[in-house]
Symmetry: C2
Subunit: 498 residues, 2 copies
C-alpha cells in the first residue's frame, strides 16, 4: 500500500512512496555488501571528502528541505533550519574526526620479551563492520533520519548505509536521499554506498538480512523491542543501537526554587514545549520542592503553559498516543492538572501542552512512562528521603538535570543519587539541545538505550567499528594507521603518542 | 546435588562443592550492588592496589594452585605454572593500565561558541557499570575462571564481581576465590566486592538477577546461547560478552609449503595438540596446497601426530563430545584419516590426537564446526579460487593465520580475503598463545564472539564501563579525571593531551 505523508496542520497529503519490494531490499543489501571492502580500502581521506560532499549537497538544498519539512512535520521553520545546520555541521565535524584518526585506537606493541616469554609484534586498529541499517526517526527528520548522526557515523567508520525512511516524512526522505546520492557521485563512491527502503516490511527484512552487520535506531521502546526480536532470531546476532525512551528527570533544589523561580519556570516551559515536546531529551518529570517557593515556581510555569497554543504533532499516531497518555496520567491517583494550553481550533494532529502535579508520596510508575509531547509532571517533594524513594520508581534516562543554587548543601550526594539513572548529568541548564562535540554523550541505561554507546558526538562512530589485530604482519598488508610513525595518534609499546 | 570434580587421568574424585541456594545468590548480588557505588568512589589508586594484592595472593599460593590444578584438570604442570604467571602478570598489567588512566577516555569540551550557538561545558568519562557476573571456563582454570581476564577487567573498571565456578574445577575455584577474598581484605575493599556461586541453577539465577549489569563468559556456543536467552528474557537487557566458538583457519601458501614444510608441520602439531587441543585459538582447519610439497608437509605432521600419546581431556563431557565430533568428521564425505595418535591404555577422559584430510572440493560445514580437542582437518587446495569457495563455508573465528614465504605474490588480496573471518590475523606464527598487552585483540565476528569487544588485553576493561557526560557541572561533583589538568590523558577541546 502506498505510504503517504500528511501535513499535520491541515491533514493534506504531502508526498507518497511505494513500499520497497523485498527483492529490492535484497538487491540493496547485496550492493552494500559488495561496496563494503572497497569503502574500507578507500581510507580516511576519501571518507572525509564524502562527508564534506554530503554537507555541501544538503546545504545547497536548504530552502527546499526546510519548506518540505515544514509541510511534512509541522515543525517550525526556525527549528528545521537549525536542525539542518546541525546536520551539516555534524558531517563536517565527523570529517575532521576521521582526518584526526584518534577514533581508530591505533595501538602497536613491538615484538619484545615479556614475563611470559617472547611477545610477538601486535598492531590493533578499529575496522569497519560492514553494511549498516539506519532507521529514520519521526522527530528528527534531518538529524536522525536519512541524513543525521547514524548515517554519518556509519559512513565515517567506512560502512555502506541503507536507510529505512520514516513513514511520516517520505518526501523529505527522498529529497535528502537524493543529496546523499549526489554526494556519493561527487566523490565517485562505490555503487551501493548508500541505499534507501520504504515501509515496515522492508525495514524488517533489512534487519533480518545476513548482509547487514549493525542497526541504528531512534524511536519508541515498542519499535526498538520489535527490531531486537528480529535480531535475536537471526543466526548471527548483530549490534542493535537503539535510542528508545527517556523521561529526563529534572530536580529543582529548595535553594534554587527560592533563588530564581521565574527563570527556572520559563526555561522549563521552553524545554518542555519546544518542538511540541517531541524531543528525546524533554524534561518529563520535574521534582519541585513542596511549599511556597515551589508553588511560586509552578504558578509561573502554569501561566506560561496556559498561554501556549496547541502544537501540530508529527503525525496522527503520535497525536493519538499523546492524548491517550495524558489522559492516563491525569487519571492516575493523586494527579492534579495545573494548566492546559489553549485548545486548537483544528482537529486531528494537534496537542495542547499540559502541566500536571503529584505529591512525591503518590508518585508511581503510572506517571513515569515517557509521554512524547508537550507535557510535564511536577512531583512535589520534601527532603532527600522523598527524592530517594521517588528515584527508586523512576526508569533510567538519557539525561538528568539538577537546578541548584549557592545556598545548597554539598551537591555530591545528590549527583551520586542521580548518576545511575542517566547518561548525561546537566547542571543549571536544560537537557534539550544536544551539542555535537567530542565530549557529548547521548545514551544511558535501559530503557533509554540498550547499549553502552552514544548516538551523538565523535564517539558515535565507535558503534560501527570492530577491533582487529595483526600479529607479525608484513608492512605491505598493514593499514597505514598501524604502520610505524603513521600520522595518527597511536599507543606504541604502552605509551600514547600524538 | 553435590558437584564433584574428578582427576581426568584416574577418574578419582578430587573436590566437591554444594550448589549455591538461590537465596544466597540473591544475597550475593545485593551485597555486590551495595558495594558498587563505594568501589566507584574509591577511585583508580585503590583499584590498582586491589589488583596488585590479587596478583600477590595468587602468587603466594602457586604451589598449592598448580598441584590441585594438575589433579582437577589433567593439564601439565608447566602449562598451569605458565597460566598462573600470565594471570598474575595480567592483574599487575591492569593495575598499570588503571594508573595510566587513558582507558577512561576523559574528554573535555569547554563552553564555547559553535555554529549552532553557545555550547555548554561538557565532560565525558567512562564509569563502572555495576555488578558483573563472570563464568569460569573449563579450559583456563586460572586465566578465564575465578581469577583471570574477565574478573580483573571488571574489577579494574571498578565493578564488583560474582564468579560462577566451573563444575570441573570446583576445588581450584575455591582455592583461587580464597586468594581473592584475602586480597580484598588486604586493601580493605567493601564487603560484596567479590562473590562466588556454584552450580548451573545458581549461574542462571545470577544472569537473570536485576542487580547484575553485565556478563562475561568463555565457553561453548550452546552454553553462550542459553545465557543469551536468559538475558533476552530480562526486563532490562544487559551486555553479554561471550567468547564462544572458533575454528581458527590456518593457510599455508604454496611458497611456504615449498620453503619450510618441516618447520610448519612441527609448529602446527605443537599448536594443535598443546593443552590437549583445548584452546580457543587452536588451529582447527589447515589449508595446505595440493601436490607434492603439501604432501611432504602433511606427511611430516602425520608422523608427529602418530607419535603423540592420548591426552587426558578436561572432563568426561568434553571427552565424549571429542569422540563424537571426531567420529562425525571422519564419517563426512571425502574425509580421510591421515594419522591418529597412540591410543591411551586408560578408559574415560582420554582423547587421541588426529589429523584428517579433505579436498577443498569436498569441504563443507560438516568439518567446519569447532572440534574442542587435539584434532585438525587439512583442506587441500589449488589456487585462490578454491580458497575463496572454501572460505564462503567457513564460520568466522577469533584468529586466522597465514604461513607465507618470500616467493609469494602480493599478500594483500589474501589478507583482505581472510580479514572478515577473524579478529586477529597472524603471519608465520601460530595463533595459540594470546599475549596480554595493549594491542592484543581476542574476539571476532560471530560465532567466535557475540560482541565487538575483546576478552584479552588492556581494552578488555572497556566491556564493563559506560560513558557518562557532565554538563555545566560544578567542580565539586566532577570525578578527578575530568577536572582541568588532571594527571590522565584527556582530549581537551578536540586535542589529545598526555
Amino acid at each position: 500500500m502506498t505510504i503517504t505523508s500528511t501535513d499535520p496542520r491541515t491533514g493534506d497529503t504531502v508526498a507518497a512512496a511505494e513500499p520497497t519490494p523485498l527483492a529490492d531490499v535484497q538487491r540493496l543489501t547485496a550492493a552494500a555488501a559488495a561496496a563494503a571492502p572497497e569503502l574500507d580500502r578507500r581510507g580516511r581521506e576519501f571518507r572525509a571528502r564524502l562527508l564534506r560532499a554530503i554537507a555541501a549537497r544538503l546545504e545547497s538544498r536548504r530552502d527546499a528541505v526546510v519548506a518540505l519539512g515544514r509541510r511534512e512535520t509541522g515543525l517550525p521553520e526556525a527549528r528545521l533550519n537549525g536542525e539542518l545546520t546541525r546536520t551539516v555541521y555534524q558531517a563536517e565535524f565527523f570529517a575532521q574526526v576521521v582526518e584526526e584518526g584518534g577514533y581508530l585506537e591505533a595501538t602497536i606493541d613491538h615484538a619484545a620479551d615479556t614475563p611470559m616469554g617472547p611477545g610477538p609484534d601486535l598492531r590493533r586498529l578499529l575496522v569497519p563492520l560492514g553494511p549498516v541499517a539506519v532507521f529514520g526517526a519521526s522527530n528528527f527528520p534531518l538529524a536522525f533520519s536519512v541524513p543525521g548522526g547514524d548515517t554519518v557515523s556509519a559512513l565515517a567508520a567506512g560502512n555502506p548505509v541503507i536507510v529505512k525512511a520514516h513513514d511520516s516524512h517520505v518526501g523529505l526522505s527522498q529529497l535528502a536521499y537524493e543529496a546523499l546520492v549526489e554526494a556519493c557521485a561527487d566523490v565517485d563512491a562505490p555503487q551501493g554506498t548508500v541505499g534507501i527502503v520504504f515501509g515496515t516490511e522492508a525495514g524488517a527484512a533489512l534487519v533480518a538480512d545476513p548482509a547487514v552487520k549493525a542497526v541504528g535506531f531512534t524511536g519508541s521502546l515498542t519499535g526498538g523491542k520489535a527490531l531486537l526480536d528480529i535480531i535475536n532470531g537471526r543466526p548471527e546476532p548483530i549490534p542493535f543501537y537503539g535510542e528508545l525512551s527517556s523521561v529526563n528527570p529534572l530536580i529543582v533544589t529548595a535553594a534554587a526554587a527560592a533563588e530564581r523561580p521565574e527563570a527556572i519556570a520559563s526555561g522549563l516551559v521552553a524545554s518542555v514545549t519546544g518542538s511540541g515536546g517531541q524531543l528525546c531529551t524533554k524534561p518529563g518529570i520535574v521534582f519541585v520542592p513542596a511549599g511556597a517557593e515551589g508553588d511560586a515556581l509552578l504558578g509561573e510555569a502554569a501561566s506560561l503553559i496556559a498561554e501556549t497554543a496547541a502544537f501540530p504533532l508529527l503525525n496522527a499516531r503520535i497525536a493519538d498516543s499523546y492524548r491517550d497518555i495524558t489522559a492516563a496520567y491525569t487519571a492516575a491517583p493523586g494527579v492534579k492538572a495545573l494548566a492546559t494550553g489553549a485548545e486548537s481550533p483544528q482537529e486531528g494532529s494537534f496537542g495542547s501542552p499540559r502541566l500536571l502535579e503529584v505529591d512525591a508520596a503518590d508518585f508511581t510508575t503510572a506517571v513515569a512512562e515517557e509521554c512524547f509531547g508537550p507535557t510535564a509532571v511536577a512531583v512535589r517533594y520534601s527532603g532527600e528521603a522523598e527524592l530517594r524513594d521517588a528515584f527508586a520508581v523512576l526508569p533510567a534516562s538519557l539525561t538528568a538535570t539538577l537546578h541548584t543554587a549557592a545556598d545548597d548543601p554539598d551537591l555530591a550526594p545528590l549527583a551520586a543519587l542521580v548518576q545511575p539513572l542517566a547518561g548525561r548529568l546537566v547542571f543549571d541548564q536544560f537537557p534539550t539541545g544536544v551539542l555535537v562535540s567530542w565530549a557529548q554523550h547521548h545514551g544511558g541505561p535501559w530503557p533509554s538505550t540498550n547499549t553502552l554507546h552514544t548516538s551523538v558526538g565523535a564517539t558515535a562512530i565507535r558503534r560501527f567499528l570492530r577491533p582487529m589485530t595483526w600479529q607479525n604482519a608484513p608492512v605491505s598488508v598493514l593499514p597505514p594507521e598501524v604502520r610505524d610513525d603513521a600520522a595518527v595518534p597511536q599507543r606504541v609499546d604502552g605509551r600514547l603518542r600524538l
